[in-house]
Structures are given as C-alpha cells and as structure tokens.
Symmetry: C2
Subunit: 106 residues, 2 copies
DNA sequence: CGTTTCCGTAAGTCATAGCTTACCGTAAGC
DNA sequence: GCTTACGGTAAGCTATGACTTACGGAAACG
C-alpha cells in the first residue's frame, strides 16, 4: 500500500512544490526552503513525509543534507495507476457503448 | 492544475475504496455504500469530490444515480506523472552515477 | 575549543476534512 | 395522491495536518 503514502504525500501543494524543486536535481534543505512560501522547519517536515513515501532520499554532505528524488515512490504510484487505468477503461468503454446504442437503436 | 484535484481526491483511503468499487463497472450510490465502512451520506460527499476532480461521472436512472469512472481525471494524473517521471529520472541517474564514481575512483 | 551554519524535532495553534444524524426534494409504486 | 425508495445537502463534532516559534545537536571554521 505504498502508493497510498505517495498519493497522500503528493496531495499537498507545498509538498508538490518541493518535488518540483527537486526535479532539476539534488538540493540542500535550506536551498529548497529558500524561495518557498513556508518556513524551513515546515520544509523539513514535508521532506520527512516525502521520504517515508519513498518519493525522496537524502544524503549527508558535511553539515548539510542533500535531498533528491527517489524513483521508487513514483514507480509504485505509476504501477497502481496503470493497473487501475486498464481495468477501469474497459468498464468505461462498455458504458459509452451503452449510450451509443441509445442514439443508434438498431 | 486538475491533477492537483485528482491527487487530493485519491489521497483519501475511503475515496480509493469507492474508485475500486467502480472499477468493475457503474453502480448506484446505495449499492456503493453497501459494504463500505462509512454511511451513505459520507459516500455521497466522497462522490462529489471525485466528480469535481474529474474521476467519476454520474447519470440519472429513475430515482437512483449511477456513478462510473471518468477517464479524464486519471488521464490528467497520468500525464503529469509521466512528465514528472521523465525529468526526474534523468536527475536521479546523474546522482547514482556520482556515487558510482566514488566506488570506482579512476 | 568557541562559534557559526545547517537542520531535525518538540510544543502549541488554527484551519480543514471526514464523519455522523437529521432533513428535504424527487421519482416510482400501489 | 400517498407512500416508499433513493440520494443530495445542512449542521455540528472531532481528529488530523500544516504551520509557527523555540530549542538542541552535529559538523565545519576560525
């Protein structure tokens, strides 16, 4: 149920901002917080959630912590979405066919 | 920013249960609520959120409302995820290469 | 070593989200 | 037409989550 954590983590707009800022590459916490609408501790808390969801990882670099995107969480989310998509699409197509028959009653 | 709504909607476990129950095909509200851990009004509220996120649609059928999955929301989410995946993966690979060079200092 | 930088955590506040019960409109059934 | 099934909405409660300030610890720097 790791995709559940990923969905929960990505549901927050600020956390998505953090992810976006990491999309271009690894960054330190203070660097991420700079230019964010919230305080640095808030960013730390968000990073913790993202890390637990498997969306980011961190690495110590002297006195600073460098965070970067972890593909695992994204992969889990994508796998769930794809699997969902396949089954749901079939059901939806059957539905549109039904309303299609209404307009072409033959 | 419709993927934001989709993420927010799918972040809730009960709402995911609703989506799962619609995966096999269209169902009426009462039918969905039957076998859910929450009350029927709660399901109605969840359906409203899902509908606003473009994840479900409904159709009147006599006195009952039949809900079924709307591919639009899922498609938006998937598009965002794919686009994110591509850019982030490159950054991550550059990162792993960096730690790889550490182990092979030549 | 003292100091400074960087960051995580604790404590507390405030808004929001999810749930319930109660109520109302609407379409079918007799 | 009255009643019954169905489902959306209102009102209210409670828990959780996102933020803040304040504090503490660890690594570099002089």
């Amino acid at each position: 149920m790791t995709y559940g954590n990923a969905l929960h983590a990505l549901a927050d707009p600020t956390r998505r901002l953090v992810m976006e800022s990491l999309r271009s590459g690894p960054r330190a916490v203070g660097d991420i917080a700079r230019g964010m609408p919230v305080s640095r501790p808030a960013v730390s808390q968000h990073l913790k959630v993202l890390k637990e969801a498997g969306l980011v990882t961190d690495r110590a670099e002297g006195t600073r912590r460098v965070y970067y995107i972890d593909p695992n969480g994204l992969a889990a989310l994508r796998a769930w979405l794809d699997q969902f998509w396949d089954k749901a699409l079939g059901a939806f197509q059957a539905e549109t066919e039904k309303s299609f028959e209404k307009e072409k009653p033959e």
